[in-house]
């Protein structure tokens, strides 16, 4: 199939050797690229039960057949490995321009194996690959390291780097690229740190071929006009994800004070209207059509974003309404190489523990100077940070406060309160990498579009499957979530244009289901089952007191009902495992 480079760079960090090998096209036929294909490689190549932070884990950087083409929103890169935060499979979708540079350098994927014996970085210039010393970069912030590397190599290079959090193997460590884009969740930065790899620096000057390229490019441009640049999608250019703030406040799913409520009376103090007054410019990823990135400068603080998740966790959920503190927290977390969601959730849990007298972590709601200070302490594992970097699940086991611990499988909750969007509790529970809002975005249907009643279990298994299937294939095409109107028909047409092989809408749906199944199969092999698809106690026990969802909590029976619906739609066993017949199809 065209579109692919049919070339994988396999890097043995222990031996400082690398070799190019053909992409497994049998697997590509079934899993396309990015998320799905990365998970397939890991399913086949990782031994069950390995320590995610050992040299036995692999870290895969996978693009797809559309990467580097004019297919809109196709510039994302999957970064995948076994998660040290959860023990599950974990794939992240990072923006920026690194996916394009990897593809133009001639690779569908980079597979990192083993570990360097001392800090280094990988330099890739087309088919030239070298192992470079990173002793002068070790300890530096991720942004600071990127600046040093870009000054050395130039702006045409992409840098994927970790901060101190990755170096200290903090399980909420992310990987950054283009400064403000993250492979945020599940600790992929710690996996990179465990390999003593500070950065990948990559520049590609080659190209990507597809069939009948002139006519195909014209047709893709039409699809861009007719479907990508619709108002349903272009709001992200106008507002970025700050738009979700108002929608979540109105829908009563904006978490406040560690998810103790779901509206904030002060939300207009830090909403998009306030933040975008400080807009310096717009930036999207490579091949993007939408340009969600808002580059802001407030005082001496800059960031691209902040995104809804980072606003909500360091805003209302931390008892804070100061936008400068929100942006500062985002900037520090990024530079330290910390996932803003997991790190933020851990701090706000600690705030509540102090307030309730469960354990004094020395921080209370609204204390943003400490919030920002704690981020750096967590990344460096110093002082109280050495405890907090354990994350909510382990901390609650150790200190108490499990009634207020919002996590699934050890991954902290995103900032969409499920009591106002019941399907989201299911989406968090059955997500392949722990509590994640990117796997099945239930609020869109239950709250924003209000097309499905939010406070009921009815139909939620089917809904979460449908949304999850769509995102699973979208992320396997390496297309961004923000192209929300992309359906299977268009996906199939794009795949046909790019690969030269006929794809149908049904094929795309089948890929989505297969990706859901193989991710589940990976986790099943690691011992996960229905017992791990959990809902936090707070969501079951405490009713919300304000907003559109006031009075709502999710009864355990309703949650279990949703889970069984979901398993049934997928043909899974009642205990959440895949039957042999499905395992055989992977």
């Amino acid at each position: 199939m065209l579109g692919y480079q049919n070339n994988v760079l396999r890097v043995d960090l222990s031996r400082k050797e690398c070799k190019a090998e053909p992409l497994n096209m049998n697997w590509a036929e079934k899993y396309i690229g990015s998320k799905g294909l990365a998970i397939k490689y890991l399913y086949e190549e990782l031994k069950p039960g390995i320590d995610p932070l050992s040299s036995e884990n692999k870290l895969i950087f996978m693009n797809g057949p559309m990467t580097g083409t004019t297919v809109p929103c196709s510039g994302k890169l999957a970064i995948a490995g076994k998660s040290p935060a959860t023990g599950t499979i974990c794939d992240c979708s990072i923006g920026g321009h690194s996916a394009l540079n990897i593809k133009y350098a001639g690779y569908d994927a980079i597979i990192l194996e083993g570990a360097l014996d001392k800090p280094g970085y990988l330099l890739i210039e087309n088919d030239k690959v070298s192992f470079e010393d990173a002793s002068s970069l070790w300890g530096k912030g991720s942004h600071d390291a990127e600046t040093a590397l870009i000054e050395q190599y130039g702006h045409d290079y992409s840098v994927l780097s970790i901060g101190p959090a990755g170096e200290t193997l903090c399980t909420m460590a992310c990987i950054n690229s283009d400064y403000y884009r993250q492979a945020g969740r599940g600790g992929m930065g710690a996996v990179m740190g465990s390999k003593n790899l500070k950065a990948i620096v990559v520049r590609g000057t080659g190209g990507v071929k597809i069939p009948n390229i002139v006519e195909a490019t014209k047709r893709i441009a039409e699809i861009e006009r007719e479907n990508t640049l619709l108002e349903d999608n272009t709001f992200v250019f106008d507002f970025g994800t700050t738009a979700f703030l108002e929608a979540c406040q109105d829908g009563g799913i904006l978490p406040k004070n560690n998810f103790s409520d779901a509206t904030d009376i002060d939300w207009t103090k830090y909403n998009g209207d306030v933040l975008l007054e400080h807009l310096q410019g717009k930036r999207g990823c490579g091949s993007c059509g939408l340009g969600c990135g808002n580059f802001l400068k407030i005082g001496d603080v800059v960031c691209e974003g902040p995104e809804y998740e980072s606003i909500a966790v360091a805003g209302p959920n931390a008892g804070n309404s100061d936008p400068v503190a929100i942006v500062k927290a985002n900037q520090v977390a990024d530079n330290m190489g910390l996932d803003t969601i997991s790190a933020g959730d851990t701090i706000i849990w600690a705030m509540e523990m102090t307030e309730r007298g469960v354990h004094d972590f020395g921080i209370r709601f609204g204390e943003m100077d400490k919030y920002i200070e704690y981020l750096e302490l967590m990344a460096r594992k110093e002082g109280v940070g050495a405890e907090l970097c354990l994350g909510v699940k382990k901390l609650a086991k150790k200190y108490g406060g499990e009634d207020y611990a919002l996590e699934v499988k050890g991954l902290e909750y995103p900032q969409y309160e499920p009591r106002g969007s019941w399907g989201m509790s299911l989406a968090y529970a059955v997500s392949d990498r722990g509590a994640c809002h990117m796997r099945a975005y239930a609020p869109n249907e239950e709250v924003f579009a209000a097309s499905i009643p939010p406070y009921t279990a009815e139909g939620k298994g089917e809904m979460v499957f449908r949304l999850g299937q769509s995102n699973a294939v979208k992320f396997s095409l390496c297309i961004c979530d923000f192209w929300a109107t992309l359906d299977y028909e268009i996906m199939a047409e794009l795949m046909t244009l790019v690969t030269g092989r006929e794809w149908t809408a049904d094929d795309m749906a089948d890929v989505g289901t297969r990706v859901l199944n193989i991710a589940r199969a990976f986790n099943q092999r690691e011992g996960f089952s229905a017992k791990d698809d959990t809902i936090p106690r707070r969501i079951v026990n405490e009713a919300l007191s304000t907003g559109a969802a006031a009075g709502q909590k999710i009864p355990m029976e309703a949650f279990e009902d949703m889970k069984q619906q979901y398993y049934a739609v997928l043909g899974w066993n009642a205990d959440g495992t895949l039957p042999e017949s499905l395992l055989a199809t992977l």
Partner: protein, 129 residues
């Protein structure tokens, strides 16, 4: 005469322009070969900057070509049999948008008055007016 016009405040740095250019002219998505190079980047992470290499039909390449290989009407055309690949056009181009590949000069020909880069530009940062 219509020319390319670039508004950086609308640019999101997606590089679709260079991808479409190389696809149309060279049969491959390959920005390094494109006759347009518009990108944005964060300088030291703190300032958003733009590279805006595009042909605005200033004609300097045409005026300085020593062999007469370059002609200019409402677009630039390079006659490759006549071009000796001396690189004068590239050296003189004020926007550094001329590519010399295999000793031949490649310059924007406006896709014969219907530039593909403009068609794919998602936010209207590139116009042909």
């Amino acid at each position: 005469m219509k020319r390319l016009k670039f508004s950086k405040e609308k640019c999101i740095g997606c590089q679709l322009c260079a991808q479409a250019c190389s696809a149309t002219h060279d049969g491959v998505f390959m920005p390094s070969r494109a006759r347009i190079g518009i990108e944005s980047y964060y300088d030291r992470g703190g300032v958003l900057k733009y590279k805006d290499a595009y042909c605005n039909l200033c004609g300097i390449c045409f005026k300085n070509c020593p062999t007469g290989a370059i002609t200019m009407t409402d677009k630039i055309l390079v006659d490759h049999p006549t071009c000796i690949g001396c690189g004068t056009c590239a050296a003189k181009c004020p926007r550094k948008v001329v590519k010399i590949i295999d000793k031949k000069s490649y310059i924007c020909d406006t896709c014969d008055g219907d530039p593909m880069c403009v068609k794919v530009c998602p936010q209207g940062a590139l116009q042909f007016v």
